[in-house]
Structure formats: structure tokens, C-alpha cells
């Protein structure tokens, strides 16, 4: 039941074309494991058979499902801590000082997965700002429709709320809904979720004061990283702040950013004149 080279290569190219995600040769096992449930739903037990049937007669729904299945949606609340501490300790005070009282701050969670990052930000703002919902809006986007739906729903399993959500925040901002936990309506109103492929021209959005583009550049090759950083910069305010994942940087990728240390984290700010 191993994946043929033809099937694997076709999936690899499809995924790269649609999402820019690079699947190195050797990731056959990953493709098999991720596609097996979809193959089963299609009534097939063999991944190769499934891939072949889609390859010969591609339909938009199946190809989309294949691409979505190969995204890695691993995420958690307050992931790595510091980029969120930096928001309330440094970034927010500086932005509030620079903006008028009626200007709404715009924050973008640019690969939001199931929404933990967006709602981490929402909780921090709700706790830090009176009337947060009228002063801030959070845009959450992901290439995966399923993840966008999940973010919109704002419902999390027991296993998910266990991953890094401080218990005092859980009880303050969530209620139980059956076996799941549902985020408070006030937080949900702050977050608008939509589908968006970072590797393609971006829709009209922003301009953003803060962008969290975390743990997604790692999946792309250098030219894609460069193109994405450029497009993101175009949607940011000149004095905006960009947060990347712990293993990601603009250094050696795109020299139009200035790296600044904020507490124990680093952020990137658009360099003037670039």
C-alpha cells in the first residue's frame, strides 16, 4: 500500500502550486498518513488509488482537501509566551500613544490555524483595554477553510484548552459547551476570520498595526518567504510590528526590516525608505 513515486510527485506539485508548502522527498509517509482518512471517506482503502483517481480527473473539492490535509495546524495558546507578553508590555502602549483615541488598532493573525493565536491576543486586549472590542479588531486568516471555520466557531476541545491556556483565563473567558469550551461572545466579536493564501496576491486588508506571522514561513522556500514578507509589509502601517515564530527571521531573507528586541522576544519593524 505504499505511495507510488508518480502519486507522491503529483501531490507534492499540487501542494506547492496551491499553497507554496514544500514537501521534501522522503515525506511519503506524511502524505500517506494525512490522506488516508480522505481516501477512506471516498470509499477507497488505498491512498495511491485515491490520488490517481484525483490526478486523472481532478475536481476542485478533492484537490482542496488534499492541500488542506497537508497543512500542519499544530498550535497552542500563548505559544512561546514572549511575543504575547511583548504585545501588552511594549507594543500596545506605544501604539496607543501614537494613535488618536478614535483610531481602531488592527491586528492580523496571518496563519491562524484553529484560532488559539487570535483569541490569545483577544484575551490580552480585553484584559488590558476598557472597551477593547470597539478599539481593536483582529483579522484571522488561514489557507485552510476548515481552520477558518474552527476559528470562527471559537470552540475548543478539552485537550486544546489544556495546551497553554492559563486556568484563570479559561474560567474568565470561556464557558463549557458539552465536551468543548466556547470562547466568550465579546472575544468572538473582536475576531474576523477569513480564508487567505499568503503565497498568492493578498486581498485588500489592513493597514495593520501588528502582524503575527508565526510558524508558517518555515514551510516555504526562500523566494516564497521573500514574496510573503514583501506583501505583508505592504499591508502594514509604517510604525507597525511584526512577530515571527521562534525559528523564523527576516535576517538573510528580506533586508527591509529592522529587528528590535522587545522584552525577551524580538519583533521586526519596516525599515523606512525600503
Amino acid at each position: 500500500m505504499t505511495l507510488t513515486t508518480t502519486s507522491f510527485d503529483w501531490v507534492r506539485h499540487l501542494v506547492h502550486k496551491e499553497s507554496a508548502i514544500v514537501l521534501q522527498p522522503g515525506k511519503e509517509y506524511l502524505v500517506e498518513a494525512r490522506l488516508l482518512p480522505i481516501a477512506r471517506q471516498a470509499g477507497l482503502t488505498d491512498v495511491s488509488q485515491f490520488v490517481e483517481s484525483v490526478r486523472i480527473r481532478p475536481d476542485a473539492d478533492s484537490t482542496r482537501r488534499i492541500v488542506e490535509a497537508l497543512t500542519t495546524n499544530e498550535t497552542s495558546w500563548f505559544r512561546d509566551g514572549d511575543p504575547f507578553t511583548a504585545l501588552t508590555s511594549t507594543v500596545l502602549p506605544s501604539l496607543l500613544g501614537a494613535r488618536g483615541p478614535n483610531e481602531r488598532l488592527q491586528i492580523w493573525s496571518a496563519a491562524c490555524s484553529s484560532g488559539q493565536e487570535s483569541y490569545t491576543i483577544a484575551m490580552l486586549l480585553e484584559d488590558a483595554l476598557p472597551n477593547a472590542a470597539s478599539r481593536v479588531s483582529i483579522t484571522a486568516t488561514d489557507i485552510s477553510r476548515e481552520m477558518v471555520e474552527r476559528t470562527r466557531a471559537g470552540r475548543f476541545s478539552q485537550l486544546e484548552v489544556n495546551r497553554g491556556l492559563p486556568a484563570p483565563m479559561l474560567v474568565r473567558h470561556f464557558t463549557r459547551a458539552g465536551t468543548e469550551w466556547e470562547v466568550a461572545p465579546a472575544l468572538r466579536r473582536m475576531v474576523t476570520a477569513s480564508q487567505c493564501n499568503l503565497a498568492a496576491p493578498l486581498p485588500r486588508m489592513g493597514p495593520f498595526d501588528v502582524v503575527y506571522l508565526r510558524n508558517v514561513l518555515i514551510y516555504f522556500d526562500l523566494p516564497t518567504k521573500q514574496a510573503i514578507l514583501r506583501r505583508v509589509r505592504d499591508l502594514m502601517r509604517p510604525d507597525g510590528w511584526l512577530f515571527l515564530g521562534a525559528a523564523e527571521t527576516t535576517l538573510g531573507v528580506d533586508d527591509s526590516w529592522e529587528r528590535v528586541v522587545v522584552g525577551r522576544s524580538s519583533a521586526y519593524r519596516p525599515l523606512k525608505g525600503k
Partner: protein, 171 residues
């Protein structure tokens, strides 16, 4: 006026809920799946198919006391319970498993599943310590939510069953 004892009528008129009003099989199964992933192992799935009769059965359960009162009962074969215990203890698993080890581990699984079933029920309820042995008798066949599953090809069932006999029929 003569009234037929249709369960329907009773359900709407009395204040004591039966479990099927409060929780469904899908919920119980999803609670069990989460417990398996985290306690038994990341790749351990419960297959939602009846696995047939259980040879040499053993049960572990916890009691829930509140607006609904009953037990959350896991039943499987003794051999499977032992295998579950080994999976739970991983590298800490002793060469020879004592009955006590099995009671402890299988009981803890009932505690985890039962605690989450309790939390999915409305109102607040208490949870007992787990017990292991022969399953408590089924008191009211209408007050039962049961899922039959397979783990590593062996049958395992979870019953959320009421502790009280049916109310007398309205006549």
C-alpha cells in the same frame, strides 16, 4: 381517560431526566477518544464498531450523583484490561501485572472518562472514586447510553447507565 405508557409522555411530564435526554453516543465516544489519545497513546484509536461478546469480562466504573444519578461503566475482557494497563504504564509496566495494577489503571480510565461525562451533563454533580469488578446491574433499560467500540481489535463498551429503577407507569 386511559393513558398508554409511552416513554415519550413520561419524559415530558416528570422531572427526573433519563440519560438519553442529556448526552448522546457521539459525545461519549469523543470523550473516550480523547482519553485514549492522551492516556493510552497518541496513535491509539477506538474503532466505533461493536466487537462482539466479551470473554472473561471485567468492568471499571465511577458513580455520578446529581440531577442525574448513575454510573459510567467501562467493560472489556480481562486480557484487554491488562493490555490497557501496560499501555498506560509504558516503560514503568512491571514484568508480572498484579490484579491491583489492573484495577488501578483501568479504574483511572473510568475516572477520566466519567469526570468528562459528568462535566457534559447539566447542573453540578459529584463523582465517586473508581471501582473495579462486576458491572453494576442495569436498573432501567431506558436510562442508558451505550457505545460499543474496539481497541486493538478487542471489544470494549462504555455504558452511561442510570442507578434508579424506572418510575411506575402513569395509569
Amino acid at each position: 381517560m386511559t393513558t398508554l405508557d409511552s416513554g415519550e409522555r413520561r419524559r415530558t411530564s416528570d422531572t427526573r431526566p433519563v440519560i438519553t435526554d442529556l448526552i448522546d453516543e457521539v459525545t461519549v465516544e469523543s470523550i473516550a477518544q480523547e482519553a485514549w489519545i492522551s492516556l493510552v497513546g497518541e496513535d491509539e484509536v477506538l474503532v466505533p464498531l461493536p466487537g462482539g461478546p466479551v470473554a472473561d469480562p471485567v468492568s471499571s466504573w465511577v458513580d455520578v450523583v446529581g440531577p442525574w444519578t448513575g454510573s459510567v461503566v467501562l467493560t472489556t475482557g480481562r486480557r484487554t484490561a491488562e493490555e490497557l494497563t501496560r499501555a498506560l504504564l509504558r516503560e514503568h509496566s512491571p514484568e508480572v501485572l498484579e490484579d491491583e495494577d489492573v484495577a488501578d489503571a483501568f479504574g483511572e480510565i473510568a475516572n477520566v472518562v466519567g469526570g468528562n461525562v459528568k462535566a457534559a451533563l447539566p447542573g453540578s454533580s459529584g463523582l465517586s472514586l473508581p471501582d473495579v469488578g462486576e458491572a453494576p446491574a442495569l436498573r432501567n433499560p431506558d436510562d442508558l447510553c451505550r457505545v460499543e467500540l474496539q481497541w486493538r481489535g478487542e471489544p470494549l463498551s462504555i455504558s452511561v447507565q442510570g442507578a434508579l429503577p424506572p418510575l411506575p407507569a402513569v395509569s
